[in-house]
């Protein structure tokens, strides 16, 4: 027996609605939970004071600075590498076993568990290159972690640029590099930016990698070779050692708020940019 198509349509629609609703619900639940527990902790002292008594009192300024440091280093290193590789893969080489191998490698890199990456960063940067537990080691390890995301999203964005634009540019006697920088990249920028923003989110929230490579020092890092703990690590230690749950939730709230802020700013800037270009 067959179901009435109209009935099927209705059933499917409500089922899909439920699935979407569930996803949104989980998201809203997490955000409300963290906000309810964490927002009451927030104050100027909490934001702009040094950590005191292992985190039981005082603020989280050092963790804000460390997180900023780590994320910036990761971005500065990974963005040019990732976008550059993507340009090479899409524009400067033909599809073949080399590109497939590179892409496969990038995908494997994306699948490596972060704790393994942390261990790798520890062995390579902390021990072998003797950077110690430092912002530099942490930032570089995070860069390795976000590299595949940036390559993949940039590649997709570059591929989505109409091929005709390049034909037109070439027929106008514009060189390949000029075509890429003046026409292809501006068109692909929104997609590339999305990848970078996604990566920022991952880098800010990463714990295992940072714990292994940047250490968990309570001081505010002042140089590339200083150790420091990021917000995520601070949260982890506060919660795991049972030092102060309220402060842990406060840190979590700040973490989520900063990721939200970064997303909103990035998308606003992008919309502005697009309006200018279209």
């Amino acid at each position: 027996m067959r179901l009435d198509p109209l009935l099927t349509e209705r059933l499917v629609k409500s089922l899909l609605w439920c699935l979407t609703g569930l996803t949104i619900f989980v998201l809203i639940f997490i955000i409300t939970f963290i906000s309810v527990k964490g927002l009451p902790q927030l104050s100027w002292t909490f934001l702009f004071h040094d950590i005191e008594d292992m985190g039981r009192s005082g603020g989280i300024l050092p963790t804000l600075v460390s997180t900023l440091y780590l994320t910036l280093i990761a971005l500065v290193v990974a963005s040019p590498l990732g976008v550059g590789s993507a340009i090479y893969l899409t524009e400067y080489t033909l599809e073949g076993w080399v590109t497939r191998l590179i892409r496969f490698g990038a995908e494997c890199l994306a699948g490596v568990p972060s704790i393994i990456l942390g261990l790798f960063g520890f062995v390579l940067f902390v021990i072998k290159l003797n950077f110690g537990w430092s912002m530099l080691s942490g930032g570089l390890s995070l860069a390795i972690m976000i590299l595949p995301t940036i390559i993949r999203t940039s590649e997709e964005a570059l591929k989505a640029v109409p091929r005709e634009y390049q034909d037109v540019c070439f027929s106008l006697g514009i060189s390949k590099w000029q075509t890429i920088t003046r026409v292809v990249l501006p068109c692909a920028l929104p997609g590339i930016m999305t990848g970078i923003v996604l990566s920022i989110g991952r880098a800010i929230g990463e714990t295992a990698v940072v714990l292994f490579t940047a250490g968990a020092s309570l001081r505010t890092p002042t140089s590339l070779f200083d150790s420091g703990r990021s917000m995520a690590v601070h949260f982890y230690i506060l919660a795991r050692e049972g030092l102060s749950m309220p402060n842990a939730y406060g840190t979590a709230a700040i973490l989520i708020i900063s990721i939200l802020l970064i997303n909103i700013t990035a998308y606003t800037l992008m919309t502005r940019f697009l309006q200018k270009y279209r």
Binding site: L94, P162, E164, Y165, D167, V168, C169, F170, S171, L172, G173, I174, S175, Q178, R182, V183, C187, Y277, R278
Partner: protein, 253 residues
């Protein structure tokens, strides 16, 4: 007798195992419009793409023979492809404006070539090119608007103007009116007749009537070979080959 601008000798072109042009010999004269007609897959577009070396972009392409532009071999490996393409402009079948303003679409390439540094010089170039392509009156008040907002016919004339703004010597037109309404088509054809004083034009078209109206010489390609070449009225009145006759009179699959 006008001077020979482009001399094609024994040109053979392969895409992988597939032959697209076979043993083509052709002279193209300065200041004339050469009409190129033939059914689909006869090698018309490929021929255009050889003349500005756009064929290089296709993987597996092999080209043999010789093409001389003003007596200089353009198929030589050491030929500066970018400057060749500035001398041999191309307008594609589908109009593709770049996602920029009308003004920028025209000024983009000349500015990069650093020959037109001054704002005023560039303004003049844009105005003259748009006038030559008969688009100026329609867009003069909104040069800073996005080129993507123009209609299909306007976009095609914009693409023509963009090619003219490079001040090329030869213009290749690949079915420039295939997607246009009769009025836009008429305007483009008018423009071409104006332009041939200053340029050498090669016009590919599926519309034999258009070739008959616009061109001075006509070449008929069939199955990768040149079947007939001659002065346009003669070819259309008394074609020498049976295939040409069949094609012109529409008795052809």
């Amino acid at each position: 007798m006008p001077a020979v601008k482009i001399q094609v000798r024994d040109l053979t072109f392969h895409y992988g195992p597939q032959c697209a042009i076979q043993g083509l010999n052709l002279d193209i004269y300065q200041g004339e419009i050469l009409g190129l007609m033939g059914p689909a897959k006869s090698g018309k577009t490929t021929f255009l793409r050889v003349l500005n070396r756009m064929c290089d972009l296709v993987p597996g392409a092999r080209v043999m023979g010789s093409v001389l532009l003003d007596g200089v071999e353009i198929l030589a490996p050491d030929c500066d492809v970018d400057s060749l393409r500035r001398r041999v402009g191309m307008v594609f079948a589908k109009p593709v404006p770049l996602p920029r303003s009308i003004y920028e679409n025209l000024a983009f390439a000349p500015r990069l070539q650093r020959q037109h540094q001054h704002r005023q010089e560039l303004d003049e170039l844009v105005e003259n090119s748009l006038k030559a392509a008969q688009l100026w009156e329609e867009v003069k008040d909104r040069l800073q608007d996005s080129a993507l907002k123009l209609s299909g016919g306007q976009q095609q004339r914009l693409c023509l103007a963009r090619t003219l703004a490079m001040q090329p010597e030869v213009i290749l037109l690949d079915e420039p009116t295939s997607g246009l309404d009769p009025i836009s088509t008429a305007r483009i054809e008018e423009t071409l007749t104006e332009l041939k004083k200053d340029f050498t034009i090669i016009l590919v078209s599926n519309n034999t009537k258009q070739i008959a109206r616009c061109s001075d010489k006509v070449a008929f390609l069939l199955m990768s070979r040149l079947v007939e070449y001659g002065v346009t009225p003669e070819v259309f009145m008394v074609p020498k080959q049976k295939e040409t006759d069949d094609y012109i009179s529409g008795r052809f699959g």
